[in-house]
Protein backbone atom coordinates (compact mmCIF):
# COMPACT_ATOMS: atom_id res chain seq x y z
CA UNK A 1 0.00 0.00 0.00
CA UNK A 2 1.38 3.41 -0.89
CA UNK A 3 1.54 6.12 1.75
CA UNK A 4 -1.19 8.67 2.24
CA UNK A 5 -0.36 12.12 0.90
CA UNK A 6 -0.81 15.60 2.38
CA UNK A 7 -0.47 18.71 0.24
CA UNK A 8 -0.31 22.15 1.86
CA UNK A 9 -0.24 25.63 0.36
CA UNK A 10 1.40 28.07 2.80
CA UNK A 11 0.52 31.67 1.97
CA UNK A 12 1.21 33.55 5.19
CA UNK A 13 4.48 34.86 6.55
CA UNK A 14 3.78 35.75 10.17
CA UNK A 15 5.02 34.11 13.35
CA UNK A 16 1.57 32.79 14.26
CA UNK A 17 0.52 31.62 10.80
CA UNK A 18 3.84 29.92 10.22
CA UNK A 19 2.89 27.26 12.74
CA UNK A 20 -0.01 25.40 11.09
CA UNK A 21 1.90 24.32 7.95
CA UNK A 22 4.95 23.10 9.87
CA UNK A 23 2.99 21.45 12.71
CA UNK A 24 0.68 19.61 10.34
CA UNK A 25 3.44 18.66 7.92
CA UNK A 26 5.78 17.28 10.59
CA UNK A 27 2.98 15.40 12.34
CA UNK A 28 1.63 13.92 9.12
CA UNK A 29 5.15 12.79 8.22
CA UNK A 30 5.41 11.12 11.64
CA UNK A 31 2.16 9.31 10.88
CA UNK A 32 3.59 8.00 7.65
CA UNK A 33 2.27 10.52 5.14
CA UNK A 34 4.21 11.83 2.18
CA UNK A 35 4.03 15.60 2.54
CA UNK A 36 4.64 18.51 0.22
CA UNK A 37 4.30 22.20 1.11
CA UNK A 38 3.98 24.79 -1.63
CA UNK A 39 5.08 28.21 -0.34
CA UNK A 40 3.67 31.19 -2.17
CA UNK A 41 3.48 34.94 -1.60
CA UNK A 42 4.17 35.81 2.07
CA UNK A 43 4.56 32.12 2.90
CA UNK A 44 7.99 32.33 1.25
CA UNK A 45 9.26 34.09 4.40
CA UNK A 46 9.09 30.69 6.09
CA UNK A 47 11.75 29.35 3.75
CA UNK A 48 14.34 32.01 4.50
CA UNK A 49 17.55 30.72 6.03
CA UNK A 50 17.22 33.46 8.63
CA UNK A 51 13.51 33.58 9.32
CA UNK A 52 12.45 37.09 10.27
CA UNK A 53 8.78 36.75 11.08
CA UNK A 54 6.63 38.78 13.43
CA UNK A 55 3.16 38.73 14.86
CA UNK A 56 1.02 41.85 14.72
CA UNK A 57 -1.87 42.87 16.98
CA UNK A 58 -2.89 45.33 14.25
CA UNK A 59 -6.23 44.42 12.73
CA UNK A 60 -6.32 41.27 14.81
CA UNK A 61 -9.04 41.67 17.47
CA UNK A 62 -8.83 37.97 18.31
CA UNK A 63 -5.28 38.23 19.58
CA UNK A 64 -5.03 37.88 23.36
CA UNK A 65 -2.87 40.70 24.74
CA UNK A 66 -0.85 40.54 27.95
CA UNK A 67 -2.03 42.25 31.14
CA UNK A 68 -5.55 42.70 29.81
CA UNK A 69 -4.29 45.28 27.33
CA UNK A 70 -6.96 44.26 24.85
CA UNK A 71 -9.60 45.39 27.37
CA UNK A 72 -8.48 48.95 28.03
CA UNK A 73 -6.03 49.65 25.23
CA UNK A 74 -7.53 51.61 22.33
CA UNK A 75 -7.44 49.85 18.97
CA UNK A 76 -5.28 52.68 17.59
CA UNK A 77 -2.64 51.72 20.18
CA UNK A 78 -1.89 48.57 18.23
CA UNK A 79 -0.50 50.82 15.48
CA UNK A 80 2.08 52.48 17.75
CA UNK A 81 5.60 52.08 16.34
CA UNK A 82 7.44 49.33 18.15
CA UNK A 83 4.25 47.58 19.18
CA UNK A 84 4.81 44.82 16.67
CA UNK A 85 8.29 43.98 17.90
CA UNK A 86 7.12 44.05 21.51
CA UNK A 87 4.26 41.69 20.76
CA UNK A 88 6.54 39.42 18.74
CA UNK A 89 9.05 39.28 21.57
CA UNK A 90 6.33 38.52 24.11
CA UNK A 91 4.80 35.85 21.90
CA UNK A 92 8.17 34.14 21.43
CA UNK A 93 8.79 34.21 25.19
CA UNK A 94 5.37 32.77 25.88
CA UNK A 95 5.87 29.99 23.36
CA UNK A 96 9.22 29.10 24.84
CA UNK A 97 7.83 29.01 28.37
CA UNK A 98 5.02 26.69 27.24
CA UNK A 99 7.33 24.25 25.48
CA UNK A 100 6.13 25.19 22.00
CA UNK A 101 8.82 24.54 19.41
CA UNK A 102 10.28 27.44 17.43
CA UNK A 103 9.39 27.69 13.75
CA UNK A 104 13.00 26.91 12.83
CA UNK A 105 12.92 23.78 14.97
CA UNK A 106 9.66 22.61 13.40
CA UNK A 107 10.99 23.34 9.93
CA UNK A 108 14.10 21.27 10.69
CA UNK A 109 11.91 18.43 11.91
CA UNK A 110 9.92 18.64 8.67
CA UNK A 111 13.09 18.45 6.59
CA UNK A 112 14.40 15.58 8.68
CA UNK A 113 11.14 13.75 7.93
CA UNK A 114 11.61 14.44 4.22
CA UNK A 115 8.76 16.89 3.83
CA UNK A 116 9.17 18.35 0.36
CA UNK A 117 9.25 22.15 0.21
CA UNK A 118 8.49 23.96 -3.01
CA UNK A 119 8.88 27.73 -3.45
CA UNK A 120 6.59 29.48 -5.92
CA UNK A 121 8.91 30.66 -8.67
CA UNK A 122 6.52 33.39 -9.79
CA UNK A 123 6.38 35.05 -6.36
CA UNK A 124 10.14 34.73 -5.92
CA UNK A 125 10.54 36.69 -9.17
CA UNK A 126 7.73 39.10 -8.33
CA UNK A 127 9.32 40.16 -5.04
CA UNK A 128 12.88 40.00 -6.43
CA UNK A 129 13.79 37.50 -3.76
CA UNK A 130 17.25 35.98 -3.82
CA UNK A 131 17.11 32.16 -4.03
CA UNK A 132 20.37 32.11 -2.06
CA UNK A 133 18.44 33.44 0.97
CA UNK A 134 16.38 30.26 1.10
CA UNK A 135 17.30 27.03 2.85
CA UNK A 136 19.07 24.47 0.66
CA UNK A 137 16.30 21.90 0.59
CA UNK A 138 13.89 24.07 -1.40
CA UNK A 139 12.91 23.34 -4.98
CA UNK A 140 11.31 25.93 -7.20
CA UNK A 141 8.16 25.41 -9.20
CA UNK A 142 4.79 26.69 -10.29
CA UNK A 143 1.13 25.81 -10.03
CA UNK A 144 1.50 22.77 -12.27
CA UNK A 145 4.23 21.45 -9.96
CA UNK A 146 1.86 21.76 -7.04
CA UNK A 147 -0.90 19.85 -8.85
CA UNK A 148 1.47 17.07 -9.79
CA UNK A 149 1.56 16.18 -6.09
CA UNK A 150 -1.81 17.56 -4.92
CA UNK A 151 -3.68 15.71 -7.65
CA UNK A 152 -2.76 12.48 -5.89
CA UNK A 153 -3.13 13.84 -2.36
CA UNK A 154 -5.60 12.50 0.20
CA UNK A 155 -5.70 15.85 2.00
CA UNK A 156 -5.04 19.32 0.62
CA UNK A 157 -4.93 22.38 2.84
CA UNK A 158 -4.72 26.06 1.98
CA UNK A 159 -3.22 28.00 4.85
Amino acid sequence: MSNKKLAIIATKGTLDWGYPPFILASTAAALGYDVEIFFTFYGLQLLKRKMKVSVSPLGNPGMPMPMGMDKWFPVIGTAIPGMQSIMTMMMKQKMKSKGVASLEELRDLCLEAEVKMVACQMTVDLFDMNPADFINDVTFGGAATFFEFAGEADITLYI
Binding site: I23, S26, T27, A30, L31, G32, K98, G99, V100, A101, L109, A113
Partner: protein
Protein backbone atom coordinates in the same frame (compact mmCIF):
# COMPACT_ATOMS: atom_id res chain seq x y z
CA UNK B 1 5.50 -1.53 36.53
CA UNK B 2 5.65 -2.90 33.03
CA UNK B 3 8.97 -3.53 31.35
CA UNK B 4 10.21 -1.33 28.59
CA UNK B 5 13.24 -1.12 26.33
CA UNK B 6 13.64 2.61 25.93
CA UNK B 7 12.44 5.73 27.69
CA UNK B 8 11.48 9.14 26.33
CA UNK B 9 10.94 12.08 28.65
CA UNK B 10 8.84 14.61 26.74
CA UNK B 11 7.99 16.63 29.86
CA UNK B 12 7.50 20.33 29.19
CA UNK B 13 7.15 19.81 25.46
CA UNK B 14 4.02 20.85 23.65
CA UNK B 15 2.19 19.61 20.55
CA UNK B 16 3.45 18.20 18.22
CA UNK B 17 6.87 17.59 19.82
CA UNK B 18 5.98 14.60 22.03
CA UNK B 19 4.63 12.74 18.99
CA UNK B 20 7.60 13.68 16.80
CA UNK B 21 10.10 12.64 19.48
CA UNK B 22 8.24 9.36 20.01
CA UNK B 23 8.27 8.66 16.29
CA UNK B 24 12.01 9.27 16.24
CA UNK B 25 12.65 6.99 19.21
CA UNK B 26 10.51 4.22 17.70
CA UNK B 27 12.40 4.48 14.43
CA UNK B 28 15.55 3.40 16.22
CA UNK B 29 13.91 0.43 17.94
CA UNK B 30 13.19 -3.15 16.89
CA UNK B 31 9.71 -4.59 16.33
CA UNK B 32 8.22 -5.84 19.58
CA UNK B 33 10.24 -3.46 21.73
CA UNK B 34 8.42 -1.11 24.09
CA UNK B 35 8.86 2.63 24.45
CA UNK B 36 8.03 4.30 27.74
CA UNK B 37 6.97 7.94 27.30
CA UNK B 38 6.48 10.62 29.92
CA UNK B 39 4.65 13.81 28.90
CA UNK B 40 3.05 16.82 30.52
CA UNK B 41 0.97 18.02 27.56
CA UNK B 42 -2.66 17.04 28.30
CA UNK B 43 -3.30 16.92 24.55
CA UNK B 44 -0.86 14.05 24.25
CA UNK B 45 -3.38 11.60 25.75
CA UNK B 46 -5.65 11.74 22.71
CA UNK B 47 -2.74 12.27 20.36
CA UNK B 48 -0.89 9.11 21.35
CA UNK B 49 -4.12 7.14 20.91
CA UNK B 50 -4.47 8.59 17.41
CA UNK B 51 -0.78 8.08 16.68
CA UNK B 52 -0.94 4.41 17.65
CA UNK B 53 -4.09 3.83 15.63
CA UNK B 54 -2.64 5.38 12.50
CA UNK B 55 0.86 3.95 12.68
CA UNK B 56 -0.13 0.43 13.76
CA UNK B 57 2.02 0.57 16.89
CA UNK B 58 0.27 -0.70 19.98
CA UNK B 59 -0.60 1.67 22.81
CA UNK B 60 -0.27 -0.79 25.67
CA UNK B 61 -0.85 1.66 28.45
CA UNK B 62 -1.93 5.26 28.94
CA UNK B 63 -2.27 6.68 32.42
CA UNK B 64 -1.85 9.74 34.57
CA UNK B 65 0.76 9.52 37.28
CA UNK B 66 1.51 12.35 39.65
CA UNK B 67 0.36 15.05 37.23
CA UNK B 68 2.23 13.51 34.30
CA UNK B 69 1.00 11.38 31.46
CA UNK B 70 2.69 8.05 30.94
CA UNK B 71 2.44 5.85 27.87
CA UNK B 72 3.75 2.48 26.80
CA UNK B 73 3.93 1.92 23.06
CA UNK B 74 5.00 -1.35 21.49
CA UNK B 75 6.59 -1.06 18.10
CA UNK B 76 4.93 -3.21 15.46
Amino acid sequence: MANFDQELDASGLNCPLPILRAKKSLAGMDAGQVLHIIATDPGSVKDFEAFAKQTGNELMESKEEGGKFVFLIKKN
